[in-house]
């Protein structure tokens, strides 16, 4: 029973870390979704080689370099330019940049999975390009993109753990501090895994429900 007491003693701090992790994930999700959507629309409709080239460079760089390198670059590297971001902001900026690149690909695939006739029909009934996008293409494309988006969201929550490397007080960071002060190593890491699972599994189930719901509405 001593273990149970120890476990309950650790929980409040770890749960506080979980809240911080969720806040970072939520801010990142909003920024990355907006960024990814803008990039995907530009990739699908822009005819400029410059725009395509610039976006491709951004997406490939973000996707082929570890997130940890991006976080270090932003947190430690930017001080070279005189920019010193607080750790939590550096984590949000870094994860949002990576997320924009990942979601740009996901949303682009969703848009490009639609038949070209969808766009032509929208134009033919007199909708502007923006209206066609807003009322015809995006609702369908986002439905196609939903499973991949769900994957991204769960991956993002897990990736907030990387922010512990730049001393953001989220679960992993607090857990490591607890380990050095209490030596309850296995207990703490077990609790950490349970907390992550408790955050991620319900989100997965929620997205599957949402997919079914949208599928049924079709």
């Amino acid at each position: 029973m001593a273990n149970l007491d120890a476990f309950l003693g650790l929980l409040p701090l770890l749960l506080k870390g979980a809240m911080n992790a969720l806040e970072i994930a939520l801010c990142t999700l909003v920024l990355a979704s907006v960024g990814g959507l803008v990039l995907a629309v530009l990739l699908t409709f822009s005819r400029s080689h410059l725009v395509h080239g610039a976006i491709a460079c951004f997406v490939e760089w973000m996707r082929n370099v570890p997130a940890l390198a991006h976080l270090f670059l932003i947190y430690f590297g930017l001080s070279y330019l005189g920019i010193n971001l607080p750790a939590w902001l550096a984590a949000i900026v870094g994860l949002s940049l990576v997320g924009s690149a990942v979601l740009a690909d996901i949303f682009r695939a969703g848009l490009q999975s639609l038949h070209v006739g969808q766009h032509e029909a929208g134009q033919a009934v007199g909708l502007s390009r923006m209206q066609t996008l807003r009322y015809i293409l995006l609702p369908q494309a986002l439905r196609v993109a939903l499973p991949a988006y769900a994957n991204y969201v769960t991956q993002l929550i897990k990736d907030t753990s990387i922010a512990s490397a730049i001393a953001v007080p989220e679960i992993m960071f607090l857990a490591r501090n607890l380990v050095t002060s209490t030596f309850q190593t296995s207990l703490i890491y077990l609790a950490v895994m349970c907390i992550y699972a408790a955050m991620i599994l319900p989100i997965g189930v929620g997205f599957i429900r949402l997919e079914r719901h949208l599928g049924a509405a079709r």
């Binding site: 490939e60 570890p66 590297g77 070209v116 190593t185 991620i200």
Partner: protein, 227 residues
């Protein structure tokens, strides 16, 4: 801008030697992790396909569990809690096993998806022509399924390579740890982390391109919105 790049030649001989050494360890680490992921992933895929009542739920819950936990938590748990159970792993092996466990969940899904994508009739007709189940698998099913599996497997390797950077946090002497050591000595973190990003990019990007090229080659086109 010019003065930024002038720093590189000055330190190049020191940095390049250390980073290349780290890159070699990263390559070995990620390949070991991928090999473990491939073996374990194949076992899991087989378990999910098996008619046994208990193998499938065990495999599915293992995969779900692994996918619900961040790699970093897995790595720290392997590195720090196993010694209390009497099993001490070096940073390298804790890293490789962590990457392998994490990767196996993805590999299993890729293999299962690749097998499911084939029509049932392929196996049935192979059996009907008198092949044994093993022959049907090696001569008919696998050669077709591997075409669909190869691009996502390459992507899985790229993920493992990028994720291997987290092993720096359990003191594995790989690329990212080398970069951090240099950054804290030289006080030039921007230079170092750009350079180390480039190291990862140079390995990962060609593999990503190859994966995409294979995917295009193996799939038939369809008229879609573009331009």
């Amino acid at each position: 801008m010019i003065s930024f790049f002038q720093q590189y030649p000055e330190y190049w001989s020191d940095w390049s030697a250390r980073l290349l050494l780290g890159a070699r360890v990263s390559a070995e680490l990620s390949l070991t992790g991928f090999a473990l992921a491939a073996v374990l992933g194949a076992l899991l895929a087989w378990a999910m396909k098996s008619p046994s009542v208990w193998l499938k739920p065990v495999a599915v819950s293992f995969i779900q569990g692994i996918r619900a936990v961040p790699l970093l938590a897995l790595l720290l748990a392997l590195y720090f809690t196993l010694p209390s159970l009497g099993l001490t792993l070096s940073g390298y092996w804790a890293g490789a096993i962590g990457l392998g466990l994490q990767g196996s969940a993805y590999v299993a899904e890729i293999l299962r998806g690749g097998l499911d994508a084939l029509h049932r009739g392929q196996r049935e007709s192979a059996i009907a022509t008198g092949l044994t189940p093993l022959q049907a698998f090696t001569a008919v099913i696998f050669p077709q399924a591997i075409r669909g599996m190869l691009p996502p497997l390459l992507n899985a390797y790229v993920s493992i390579l990028k994720d291997s950077s987290l092993c720096a946090l359990i003191a594995t002497d790989e690329l990212m740890l080398a970069a951090r050591a240099i950054a804290s000595e030289s006080f030039l973190p921007m230079h170092i982390f750009l350079l180390v990003g480039l190291f990862y990019f140079v390995i990962a990007f060609p593999l990503s391109l190859l994966s995409r090229a294979l995917e295009v080659r193996f799939s038939r086109g369809r008229k879609t919105i573009r331009g």
